[in-house]
Each structure stands twice: as C-alpha cells, then as structure tokens.
Symmetry: C2
Subunit: 422 residues, 2 copies
C-alpha cells in the first residue's frame, strides 16, 4: 500500500513553525505497519493544494491531509479538494450538526464564519472533531482515499486516533491494537545502541525497532502490530505479549546495563518511583547544574511526596552558610572537588533531615575551566543511610546547556543505581 501525507499552510513554508504533524502521522502509520512514501507541504493556495491532491491521487492508495479547515480566508482545503474532484461545495448537514453540538456544549452561538466550515465537497464523509470547531472529512480522488484533518496538533491527533485510525484499520484489515514497549537508555550514543541491537529484525520478524535521541537519553521503541492470523484474538494477544517480553529481555541483555527504565520512564520518574516505593525522602545540593536537577525532579507530578529541599549554592558563602561545607575544604581543594561535593551532599541531607542527599559541583562552561579542571569537570556527591561517596567525571559536551544536562543525568543515575541496591 502506498501512503502519502500532505501538509497545507503558509506557516511551514515561511519557516515560522516546524511541521510536527507529519512526523506524528508517519510514526503512527508506521506502528500500524504502513510506510509513508512521500510528504508534501504546500502553502495556502487553492491552485497548489489542488495540484498536489491531483498528483497524489495518481500515486497513492491513502493520503492524510492536515490544515486549512478553519473559518478564515486562508482556509482553502475544502475548496481545493472540490476543485480537484470537480464537485461543488455543499452544506453538509452532518458536519453542521457536529459543530452545533460542539458550540452548544460550550454555551456559544454558531456564527456565519463557522458555518463556512460545514461546506464540504458533495461526496465527502464527515470526520468528527471533538476538540475544536473544524470538522474533518474523507473522500476519494481517483483510487486514493483522502483524510482531511485540522492543522492544530491537538485537534489533528484526537481526530486521527478516534476517527481515522479505526477506519483505516477496518478498510485495510489492520488492527486497532498495537503493542509498544519503550526502553530508556543512558550512557550510550545512538550509533552504539543501533549496533548493539543489530540482528533484532532477523530474530523477531514482524516487529519493528525505533530510535529517538533526546540528549542525553536514547529511547528504543519495540513495536508489534496485532496481525490478522489464525486463532482467537485473546490467544493472539497472549502470544504477542510473550514475544514482546522476549524481545524486550533480549534488547535489555544486549544494552550493557544501560537501560534505566524498561517501561520508557524518564530518569527523574524512575528515581521518583524508587524513592516513593522505598519511602525515602530526597534533598539536593546543586552548584554547576544550577537548579536543573531540582527542576527535573519536580516536573514529576506527586514529587512533593519525597522531595523536601534543594540548595542551589553558586557562591562559596552559600556553600558554607547553608550547607556547612568547611572553609578548609574550600581553601585546600576548591569548590570543584570530591571533598566539597561530599560535604554538600551531607550538608543538604542534614539541613532538612532527608534520607538521601545528592550534590553537583563542576564547570559547565564556556569559561571557568583550567588545565587541571577543564570545562566538563563535575564532582557528584551522594549521602544516604550508612552510605557516602563522591566521584569526579570529565567530559565536555560542547555547550553549557548540554553539560548541565549531562551533569544532572549523571547525578540522578548515581542515585538511581544506589536506590536499586537499597
């Protein structure tokens, strides 16, 4: 089957926004076993949209179209589609009905501008929009089935999930159930992750691997569509779950102990989960990471259950006054040192009677480095029940922002490993 995507709207062609809709749809179609062959983006022009629709109709079996369904003058997709199909635009009663329902629910009266959105080509079928006013529609041009969705990502996504995906599944005998497992990896570059998982395709036919780098993490996605094969659905689901488990275990075993979550959780979620499970509280002392670790920890909803207090001590005075780092340590070894890091972790832990204290002190750059302590140097301290240690790491990832991210991830990973053993 040949699938294509058409994205309409001037914003993308002017470089004002990046077209994330197409990437989303490619990914979802891939999960359904459908490979997209081409993506086209054109501006708000009836002639260009119409031309693109005509060319796609000659090549593709299905096409997902986004954008141009709104109430304003530059929303031209329905007009262009009617032109390409040599049909008239007519008021679609079902489309109007869904819009009236949407407005009534919110206590608004429908306006004439909005009614324009219910003008669809004669042969169009309606796709309901539960998150906005613009109805979508579906119709055939040539041998190709087109699905027209709004350009607003939230509206597009829910329409795809609720309206388009079930219809594609019915028509093409695809399943609505797709099994996905996600692994979060820290400490390996993407190329190395790919190399370690070589042989997956041969070992697990019918399943796909996807990779996504989100510095400094890599997410590996194992995807398995529920194929139409013999046997009961329940039986097939159980079989797939077993195969998925085997595939996940195989991948984890190859990834050199670098999988931080076999469920796709983030490092901060995983640390939070462990703290909650073991009923531990946490305090953080940050210097070079400047609040990033605390910000990550508190991005997790419910983190107030275990997170008590952070001290971001940029100045030596703050390190001494708040964290009780000794003046001697700072004078003898400097702010960036294992001894300082350890005293920071111990100090912050004590300051709020937390079970665990972690700390960072280092040089994120671009300036402040020396031959002995270059940019990219960080000391991580950790203190907990009957446990205290500190360690130095050095690697420069090129920018202050990336160094901060890497330093924060190392500190959280040190804590995670310790919590696993506690």
């Amino acid at each position: 089957m040949i699938a294509e995507i058409l994205s309409t709207g001037d914003e993308v062609l002017l470089g004002d926004i990046v077209d994330t809709n197409s990437g989303y749809l490619c990914e979802r179609l891939k999960e359904m076993g459908i490979a997209v062959q081409q993506i086209t983006a054109v501006g708000d022009s009836v002639a260009r949209i119409s031309h693109a629709l005509g060319q796609i109709a000659q090549r593709a079996d299905i096409c997902l179209v986004t954008g141009g369904l709104g109430p304003t003058q530059d929303d031209l997709t329905a007009t262009a589609c009617a032109g390409a199909a040599k049909e008239e635009l007519v008021l679609n009663p079902r489309a109007l009905e869904t819009m009236v329902a949407y407005f009534e629910k919110r206590g608004f009266e429908i306006t004439l501008d909005n009614k324009k959105q219910a003008m669809l080509p004669e042969s169009a079928g309606v796709l309901v929009n539960r998150n906005g006013t613009a109805p979508g529609f579906t119709m055939s041009l040539g041998k190709c089935g087109f699905y027209f969705m709004p350009g607003v990502p939230s509206e597009m996504k829910s329409m795809f999930e609720e309206e388009v995906k079930p219809e594609l599944s019915d028509i093409f005998g695809l399943t609505k159930e797709i099994f996905i497992e996600r692994l979060t990896i820290f400490g390996l570059p993407e190329s190395r992750v790919g190399a370690l998982l070589e042989g997956f395709d041969a070992k697990f036919p019918g399943m796909n691997l996807g990779f996504r780098a989100k510095f400094p993490f890599i997410e590996v996605k194992i995807v398995c569509p529920l194929e139409e094969t013999a046997g009961s659905v329940k039986g097939r689901v159980e079989t797939i779950k077993k195969v998925m488990d085997t595939a996940r275990e195989w991948a984890i075993s190859r990834l050199e102990n670098k999988v931080i979550s076999p469920r796709g959780r983030s490092l901060e979620q995983e640390v939070g989960r462990l703290l909650k499970e073991k009923k531990f509280t946490l305090a953080i002392a940050e210097s070079c990471t400047g609040g990033l670790i605390s910000n990550l920890i508190t991005d997790v909803a419910g983190s107030s259950d275990y997170f008590l207090f952070s001290a971001i001590t940029y100045s030596n005075e703050a390190k001494m006054n708040i964290l009780k780092v000794s003046q001697n340590t700072l004078e003898d070894h400097g702010a960036v040192h294992e001894h300082t890091a350890l005293e920071m972790a111990l100090g912050v832990r004590k300051a709020c009677n937390a079970d665990w204290g972690i700390s960072t002190t280092g040089i994120a750059g671009p300036t402040g480095g020396s031959v002995e302590k270059p940019v990219g140097t960080v000391c991580i301290g950790i203190a907990g029940p009957g446990f205290e240690t500190a360690k130095r790491y050095t690697f420069d990832f090129g920018t202050r922002a990336r160094n901060k991210k890497m330093f924060a991830a190392i500190a959280l990973e040190v804590l995670r490993r310790r919590l696993m053993d506690s």
Copy 2:
C-alpha cells in the same frame, strides 16, 4: 521566482526524526525575499527521488535538496539525480580534492567508501563541505537550478551559508547582507501580537515580519534585505539602519509595553544584564517552580557574577528552617499565600545577604488545587533595597510543565520591571 525544497531520507518518513532542515531553509530563503512554494520529503529510493526531481524541475526555478550524500548504501541522491538528468556518474576531481583536504587536515586516510562520495553527475558543480566528508553539488534539470546538500543539519547549514547563499545572491541579484531585529514579548498571545502589528507591511514596504512562539514568549523578527538600489553601499546601509530603527520603535510602541527585550534577548538574559549593570546580587526561593527559575538564571554564562543562592523549599519544614517563614503564617494562611511568598523572598535575601530576593509558591497541578486556590494559582514575592511586595496570580495553562514555565516567567518579569526602575 518559484523555490522548492526536497528532503530525502527514510528517517523523516518513518517519523524517527522531525525534518528541521526544511524549516531552516524556508526561514533563510524568506529572509532573502524568496518564498518557498512546496516542500517534498521522500525516502531513500532512487526511483522516488528521481521522480520528485523530475516533477520539481517542471515547476520550480530553484530547489534546495538535503540528504543522501553519505558513503553508505542508502545514500542515493547523486545516482537519482544522474538518472533524472540522463547523465553518468563520474569521479569529480574537484570533489575528491576537497575530500582529501578534509581528511588530511584530520590525519585520516581516505577510504574507498568515501571516494564514492566524489562520484557526481557529469555536469555537476561542487559545493564544498567544510564540516564533513560529503561534498555537495549543484546542477540544472530543465529550467531549475538544484543545490544538493548533506542531511546532517550542521553540515547543511554551513554549506548553505558559505556556498549556496552567496551563489543565489549573485545569480538573482540578492544581497548577502540581511538586517534582522528581534523583539522578545511576554504577556500577549501570538494572535494578539499579530493583530497589534497589523499595518506593518503597508508602513514599511520591503520589510518582513516573522513570528515565533516559544511558550510563554513570542519572538517578533523584523527582516530587511539590502536591495540593489542606487547609491553607495555605505549610504544604503545607513538608510536601512535608520528605517529598521523606525520600524522597531513603531513595533515597540504598538506592543503595549510587553516587549521585554528590543534586542531579542531572553528574559533571563535581560534580568542578568540588568543585575550586572546595576551591580546587584540575587537570591531565589522557589516552591511550585521547583528550581526552574534558578535553572534559567544559571543557563546564562557568567551568571555567577550576580546569582548567589536558591532555596527550593517544597516542604513547610524547609520553608521554616531555611527561609525562616513563620509557623503562624503557614498555619494561618497556608503555603500558597502572599504573606508566605513575601516571607520567603525576605528570608532567602537575608540568608545570603543578596540585594534582591524573589520567591514563588503556588499550585502547578495536576492535583493539589482547591476551590479557593485552584491549580494555576501562584504567589510571587519580591524583596530588595527599601522595597518588598507580594502578589497573587491565577491562570491555568493546562499542564504542570506549562504552569511552571508561566510562573517562572512572571517572577522574572516582576524582577525585571523592578530593576528597570531601580
């Protein structure tokens, strides 16, 4: 002039990566006064790339192509281009020369795989790659001039800037000099910014406006290409600078006092600049923002000049012990209250003898809200030389992450306005 972009590579069509190259090129071309009419993305297939090239050659005057120039089996662009042009691939001596130079500089020997990258269509001209091994090339198909660049963003960008842009400028009489002014705006939705600046095009012909939303900020870009007109270059530059100043002042005057930087700086950069200029130091007490403000402040290189200390006090005990918030205040008014916010700001200021202290306490959600204090409530405190106040704000931006961002921006904006007056 009709310009198009062709992006090649399976990664985009599989949804593994978002095509940011095309957005970058659209934006740069727009700055040169060239509007892109269509973007096409196809996978690593000779037939599909060749088909796309053929169709674009019929429509466009210029086309920028990215991807598929590497040394591996799935790098097929040169082959596809030769096919579309009915030419042979030949070893291009100039391309080989630039590659050898690149390798020699790094002390590597060139391999056979790499030499494949110097096999280009017979009529191709070479585009030098200073940041990688794959040479780019340019050639004509039909009436259209094609520019083939690597898919790696850093290599593509430098090749565009150094090789393609100057050539486009020469051919089309465009300028190499483009004048850009950026305004950073906080406190207005994008639609409102657009509405307030309506009339710009009529008032300043030849100049363009661009908008970019980066929650919770909007960046407005004023772009003016140096046109080929009468008069000396120096004279023209001076004229343009004057017009740009006028345009910027006009835009600022329309934007209701919501421009936080007339030079495109971020809010945290602007706060840092003011603190440095006025020789003030800063301390921060965060509750609901969880370290985000500190992280933003310390993202700015050189922030150790003015930033001393932050206390992220999630627990009431930490608010009392570290910041000396009184138990009575917490019992009478709760953690989320103006009184608490003010005591936090005063407390953190005192803890490290800073000139200024700012604080946040609120409910970022998704849980923790009440009828009286719903999710989206935040109290901001500020204390400085002879000045102290606290204020409550309520608006829910839908997610914990967005609420945190908005709370942090309000706190920094309160500080910025105060510093402007100090």
